[in-house]
């Protein structure tokens, strides 16, 4: 569906995307994960055939966006990072007018609009002004809009950023259903749980480059340990974190490591409980401890030395 080789995007002297290779297969849910400014949106906009490629090769549905932009855009659905809904039109008109841009006949389009509004649970809001919708409702409307042309490929740039947990789960459910219907989904996100829930495969981007690639489970296996013990100390001890890290360095075992964050220490180890036990035995008294499984967040921290969500 998407094939990129050495893809670059420059804005003047600044290189936002610095040569990435990506293959997305039909029916797959593929994720771009990365912190602010990683180049996710720049990549998505090139794939959406609205932003010209600076260098490298890009094919979407087998077509070159430089020469077949309208043909590509006719067959994909795009949910941009910032909503581009028309605030002057009501909910239904936003959907209907957008559908007309694809040349969909009026009768057919009216049916699709009804179905889509039901699908994103906005049927009762059909005559509401877009301005009066909540953030989550706007996002759902944008997603409905991106589906109006029955796209083969759906591009979602941070579909759930700014939504409350319940709204996110509703959206995830809808995206999951689309995937089951055979729609290829490409999304960007800051959220590890989102990537783990939705993506078959993903790439981690940082500063315009791909730093890792694989399925969520595979990435965790390759770049982290099975468990993580989080240790929180009182604020008076925050300055001593480095020192404490040295004292507990050997409890994590050969494959493990210790990560120092401003507010806590992370012990990467196969057995979290055992590590916490060993720490206590050394006379250290964290105010709180938590043992959990490794997540993509940890993979990201490992690969870039930075937290994903600031």
């Amino acid at each position: 569906m998407i094939s990129a080789r050495g893809l670059h995007k420059s804005f003047g002297d600044f290189e936002a995307v610095r040569g990435i290779d990506v293959e997305v297969r039909r029916g797959e849910a593929f994720g771009f994960l990365g912190p602010n400014g990683a180049g996710k949106s720049s990549t998505m906009r090139m794939v959406a055939a609205v932003s010209p490629v600076s260098a490298g090769e890009l094919r979407i549905l087998g077509l070159d966006p430089a020469t077949h932009g309208p043909d590509i855009r006719a067959r994909i659905g795009v949910c941009p990072q910032d909503d581009t809904l028309d605030l002057e039109l009501n909910v239904l008109d936003n959907l209907y007018i957008y559908g007309r841009y694809f040349g969909i006949g009026r009768k057919e389009l009216r049916e699709r609009c009804d179905q889509l509004l039901d699908f994103v649970q906005l049927g009762e809001k059909r005559h509401a002004k877009v301005d009066d919708l909540s953030g989550g409702m706007k996002r759902r409307l944008t997603i409905a809009r991106s589906l109006v042309n029955r796209p083969e490929l759906l591009l979602l740039d941070e579909p759930t950023t700014g939504l409350d947990p319940q709204a996110r789960h509703v959206l995830w459910d809808r995206l999951f259903r689309l995937k089951q219907q055979g729609v290829t989904i490409v999304l960007t996100t800051h959220y590890m749980d989102e990537a783990e829930q939705l993506c078959d495969r993903l790439v981690v981007m940082d500063a315009g480059r791909i730093v890792a690639e694989g399925s969520p489970a595979q990435l965790i296996r390759d770049h982290s340990t099975r468990e993580v013990a989080e240790l929180r100390f009182g604020p008076e001890q925050h300055d001593d974190h480095e020192q404490i890290a040295v004292r507990v360095a050997d409890v994590v075992g050969d494959a493990g490591r210790v990560e120092v964050l401003p507010d806590r220490l992370l012990l990467y180890t196969a057995d979290g409980e055992a590590a916490v036990q060993a720490v206590m035995e050394r006379g250290l008294h964290p105010v709180a401890t938590l043992v959990r499984r490794s997540s993509l967040e940890d993979v990201f921290l490992r690969l870039t030395g930075r937290s994903l969500v600031d």
Binding site: P70, D71, R73, A74, T84, I97, Y98, Y101
Partner: protein, 260 residues
């Protein structure tokens, strides 16, 4: 890649926008020409004792000024429709971004919006002429119809350059300049209210650069029935060239804004 225009796909959008606004414009589109023709044509015209030989063949001031007002009103409608609306579509409402995420291209978007404004100008001109007709302004019914049709050309000559300007500028404060240094002098000194000869030889030659002057002359020929083939062709060509050049610039300017 060359494909036929997709601009008609934007028709429903512009119809919806028009449906939201027409009620607010309907009263003023009837009243404005009436106020103009009564105040300028009849009342002010009562004081104007101009030599008919210097009124482009009009026999009274009201006959002279009415077609001028029609063309000037067409220009004003274009300015009101294609300044903040275009700028806002890029900066505030992001409507153009939504449009160009679909098969529509920048050229389709420009064509559709210019088409919408042309339609509104034609509608406004029709009302204007219906209101003026009882004052015996038009030499013939056909002349009135042609005067209306000419407004499409007048509108085109302004629409595409104004669109280009609005897409080009980086701050809305530029509109104040456009209105004061662009539209207002054009409005006053393009022969709508007095013959440009009154400006003296140098300035009157300058006035012939004004697209509105060409529009006024053309409209006046239609309404008075004083056609002269040579000058008429020149006016048409001048306005058409402006429209085409403005179109190319508008597409370029909007592309620069939307495609990065």
């Amino acid at each position: 890649m060359s494909h036929s225009t997709l601009a008609p796909r934007l028709a429903d959008y512009w119809l919806t926008i028009y449906r939201r606004t027409w009620k607010g414009t309907v009263v003023s589109s009837f009243v404005t020409p009436l106020l103009y023709v009564v105040s300028l044509g009849v009342l002010l015209g009562g004081f104007v004792e101009a030599d008919p030989a210097r009124l482009d063949g009009a026999t009274s001031y009201v006959d002279f000024v009415a077609p001028g007002m029609l063309a000037a009103a067409s220009m004003q409608l274009v300015f009101s429709q294609l300044t903040y609306n275009v700028f806002g579509g890029i900066r505030w409402h992001k409507t153009y971004y939504a449009m160009t995420a679909t098969p529509l291209g920048v050229a389709d978007v420009v064509q559709a919006q210019v088409g919408y404004v042309l339609a509104r100008v034609l509608l406004g001109a029709l009302v204007f002429c219906l209101v003026l007709a009882p004052f015996g302004i038009f030499a013939s019914v056909g002349g009135g119809v042609v005067a209306v049709a000419v407004q499409a050309l007048v509108a085109l000559a302004f629409a595409t350059p104004v669109f280009a300007f609005s897409a080009w500028i980086s701050h809305e404060s530029a509109f104040a300049l456009l209105f004061r240094l662009g539209m207002l002098p054009l409005f006053l000194f393009s022969g709508a209210f007095f013959p440009v000869d009154n400006l003296g030889p140098a300035l009157s030659r300058l006035a012939t650069v004004s697209p509105l002057w060409h529009g006024v002359e053309l409209t006046r020929m239609a309404s008075l029935g004083t056609w002269q083939a040579g000058p008429a062709l020149l006016h048409v060509a001048y306005l058409a060239v402006l429209g085409v050049v403005g179109y190319l610039l508008a597409v370029r300017a909007l592309t620069r804004r939307l495609v990065s």
